[in-house]
Symmetry: C2
Subunit: 672 residues, 2 copies
Amino acid sequence: MNQIQKITADASLSWPVTAALRALAIDAVEAAKSGHPGAPMGMAEMAAVLWRQHLRHDPADPKWPDRDRFVLSNGHASMLVYALLHLTGYDLPMSEIKRFRQLHSKTAGHPEVGVTVGVETTTGPLGQGFANAVGMAIAEKTLAAQFNRPGHTIVDHRTFVFLGDGCLMEGISHEAASLAGRLKLGKLVALYDDNGISIDGKVEEWFADDTPARFEAYGWNVVRNVDGHHPGAIDAAISASLQTGKPSLICCKTVIGRGAPTKQGTENSHGAPLGPEEAAQAKAAFGWSHPPFEVPADVYAMWDQRARGAGLHADWTARFEAYRQAFPELAAEFERRVAGDLPKSFTEAAARAVTEAKAAGNVASRKAGQVVLSAFAPDFPELLGGSADLTHSNLTNFKGTLPITRDEAGNTILFGVREFGMSAIANGIALHGGFIPFVATFLVFSDYARNAIRMSALMGQRVVYVFTHDSIALGEDGPTHQPVEHVESLRLIPNLDVWRPADAVETAYAWRAALARRDGPTAIILSRQTLPAQPRDAATETAIANGGYVLSEPATAPAAVLVATGSEVALAVAARDLLAAANVPVRVVSIPCREAFERLAPADQAKVIDRAVPHVAVEAGATRGWRALVGFAGEVVGLDRFGESGPEKDLLAHFGFTPQRVADTVKTVLSR
Amino acid sequence: MNQIQKITADASLSWPVTAALRALAIDAVEAAKSGHPGAPMGMAEMAAVLWRQHLRHDPADPKWPDRDRFVLSNGHASMLVYALLHLTGYDLPMSEIKRFRQLHSKTAGHPEVGVTVGVETTTGPLGQGFANAVGMAIAEKTLAAQFNRPGHTIVDHRTFVFLGDGCLMEGISHEAASLAGRLKLGKLVALYDDNGISIDGKVEEWFADDTPARFEAYGWNVVRNVDGHHPGAIDAAISASLQTGKPSLICCKTVIGRGAPTKQGTENSHGAPLGPEEAAQAKAAFGWSHPPFEVPADVYAMWDQRARGAGLHADWTARFEAYRQAFPELAAEFERRVAGDLPKSFTEAAARAVTEAKAAGNVASRKAGQVVLSAFAPDFPELLGGSADLTHSNLTNFKGTLPITRDEAGNTILFGVREFGMSAIANGIALHGGFIPFVATFLVFSDYARNAIRMSALMGQRVVYVFTHDSIALGEDGPTHQPVEHVESLRLIPNLDVWRPADAVETAYAWRAALARRDGPTAIILSRQTLPAQPRDAATETAIANGGYVLSEPATAPAAVLVATGSEVALAVAARDLLAAANVPVRVVSIPCREAFERLAPADQAKVIDRAVPHVAVEAGATRGWRALVGFAGEVVGLDRFGESGPEKDLLAHFGFTPQRVADTVKTVLSR
């Protein structure tokens, strides 16, 4: 108790500004009968200082492009951000605070971007909000370098992030902090809610890092031992941090559940309502005598940021208009970029990509991806991405690749071996706006990034994932590097489009779809090995965009349909030829994107998939998902076990990815 | 070049001991026309010093329980470990070295446990080998505390791990190192191959951490600036490190590809053969004039560790026999534990678990999991595990829970918020032997650990994953915490058994199967919410072990079959009652483990699944996988979109998990 008493002695618990935050957090959690009161109560002073004295934002326009970004990485403290938004004047009325955690309220259990105005990212999965914030700071710095001109600073905002012990234990905090330090993100300020408590109790038993020393090792500015309940100390730390040219970690010593007489300082205030008695005593302790969900007008006045925000916004608007006068084309481009609109030349760029893909001929689809990216890149200065230390394997570099470490107006991030951090950073870049982020690694290591991919999909962000080396055909690197379950597993993530192109032209269509998609991420799955270019007439080529189409139709009515994706399309075509020689006419269907195909009207799907005849699906991976398409009458040629180390050809023969086996499977199905 | 010259000046490049390692790495990669020569060439001195002067091992018995463990976390350097095993006298003949990376050789592209004698863990996915090593060191320390007695030290070995820049960039290195520091794993020594190069080039552009300072912040002993090509310096650093009582990081400054005249010190030596000319020049540089794959007898003699190993092993055997004399029961128990055999009382323990489960009645399956674990625990001192900071939510504590931080002979690890590290540590514990590790988190955060789960399955390790809060029914925490795709996605991982029990008794069978399984991991998927106990006769109960069984059969021939898992079994039962009232007789099938069910003979499956009538599957998650079972004629009641935040009952109604909807779906299917 001594530490708690010492800290609380430094600031008045009865300050109405923080009392209002704590009271709303208590009231909402009590009403919901669920939630997390401890963290909002512990971070009240941090929040009050930041949102009233530093954060440049306009409650009337939560989308103002030059606003400061705020991320609550310890998202379970959601009531903190809802209270802040409500009190500072955002369109989040008390009626929504009262509906905390109810179905279809604007006050979900964890903050969700798109659900609540002013929420910049969806948080809850620990550590990812912090990485999102790093992404936002990268986006700000890069956008500033691309658009600011001498005397015209139109991009100049900061990113603030609150995080807790849980975020700092997660590995992703290492990946994101290490890269942020290297990139010297001086406008990134993290405030660490150092309360010494996580769900299992006092963290010292499992988390004894010297966190300040750790962050200094990353090249961060660290402010140690800040009394997290002392507004002046927090204010001074923030002001000083913004002057260092480094990302900053402000270590705020706090008491979780501060103000709750028996539960403060313990995990008992973390994840459940305080209960009526403790709630009442807490309010008494900080001198809050108002009924639940009532805030007096004078306290609202202390919090209201609308006038300040309008002023900041108006200043910026004036500066932006001067910029527009001086650089009308740049200003228009800035507005396009921030709106996320496609360039006007998109159609031409896409056509060029297809042309280049055709010229590339028989290439690995990873190589086709590079050709296509090179074709799009001149028209897409908003592309900002790179690889997790596999640039020359993923082939995500292109003519014009310029790392932001060499020129801050660049378009490439050398992410290092940090798949999860990379992907969550990409989410932050997408959320910030002005960019289309793309990231790359081997498909098997999509596992490392999986929850960030899910978060891209949940948040509906346009992030392009490039996953190469997509099957056992990668060869000698063996089962640790050979995806088996991954393509199907990615398809299970709602709102993620998964493209596995069969050749260079399909790769061009995949990238086109990924760039054009505004409401979610796309994974583009590419081969290490060469894939032959498939012949197509114009109508067939156009049909690629449907996600599934008839690649080849026999002269007579098909006896069966072969369905394949990616590298197995060529296998299906070879099997078709064997079957044709045996007088078995088969249709070959390519389904580069099952999600897109399944969005077609049933009648259009039926032009491709004909349930009157049996189907055999071929994909060098898990078979389960295709059985829905082939039914009991059909069959799947796939792989439901781990691969092995060996040369590609030996592996394909060993695991039965041969034209003969596919042809034999069709014959077997037809003989049933 | 100055740094390289300085380093190489300190040790003779022509030392035959290291020349042999480098020559074999070059030869094998050249012959395979694929592989990674740079890392083995860079770590040759580190390896020579460790394996010849420190590592206590017996090439004649790679399973000797008290051997030191060696982990090559940068697994792409696989030729290093193959050369070491071959030269020191393991059963890995030159014929296998010549078959490096060929199908079914014992020298796979990355080291694979079970494929190559003496390989302790499968590595390649960066960072995980390091975490495995932390797990091995935890296992050693705990096993020693449980079995050693005054004057009788039968468990006393060290864990050595080589790792590179890539491992240290990965987030999992943070999680594992932080926990290792807290646990003061003084017998863990990591040798860092600090060559400044990763695949994209010089790491300084994306990885500028002060790694020594970072590890000191974790409480590690760090030896800085060791010349990684100076045998004496390496030797001294290892010796000193083992005396500190802390885990140690020895930072070895090395030159990747050392000896290759034009490629050393660059990423060009990393992932491709040197080429004949560079290979010849390299061999000339270190004075190796022998034909490919030839090692002179005198060099073999320098390497041979068989006599030394036999001596160490014999010493231990003598000590163990003395221990057996003094503590015969403990010695027998030690042998059982190390062999991984089940306790003799297993059948009784399992029966007790079922009895306790029945007594628990209507409880959440996470609560049932706790009841069952409590029932098994007294008979399973080999259980060693815990939760990623969600102990009181996952309910993985039990009577007798004793954290190893409080008593090193304990059985519980407080993992902190480190899902990936936790899971890879569990793999290390399982690989070490003597324990059955179990780990727990919310199901949605299995994403964070996904590649470690895959590695459990690939390595065939008995790791029990407890994943609770298994559907949208967890309620208010919302879509970030609500699994949708996860159960189906886990089922896609080969060799992972996924149990989703419907009630307490099924939970007992799930744990029984997980404990009894010796060749792979099991995921046990548990609910947050209460699930009613299902009535069963004795035969029905026994059939749970099949993974799928008829829970209830109508009096007349069923018109349809309802298939469900977990919490949806009760829903199916309720729908059955509605349908019975409408004179539609349906069978209810529970499939707690689809993998086990699908291992049944087809005839046995057909007693449960009757394709003569339509099937409706019900699971509160992705529908795709069940469509294989229900075919075109059936239907799946599931969820292929993200959840929302709200109370459980509101969510279940909103998303259609109601008896009425299930019953209506059956009627729809029957009316087709």
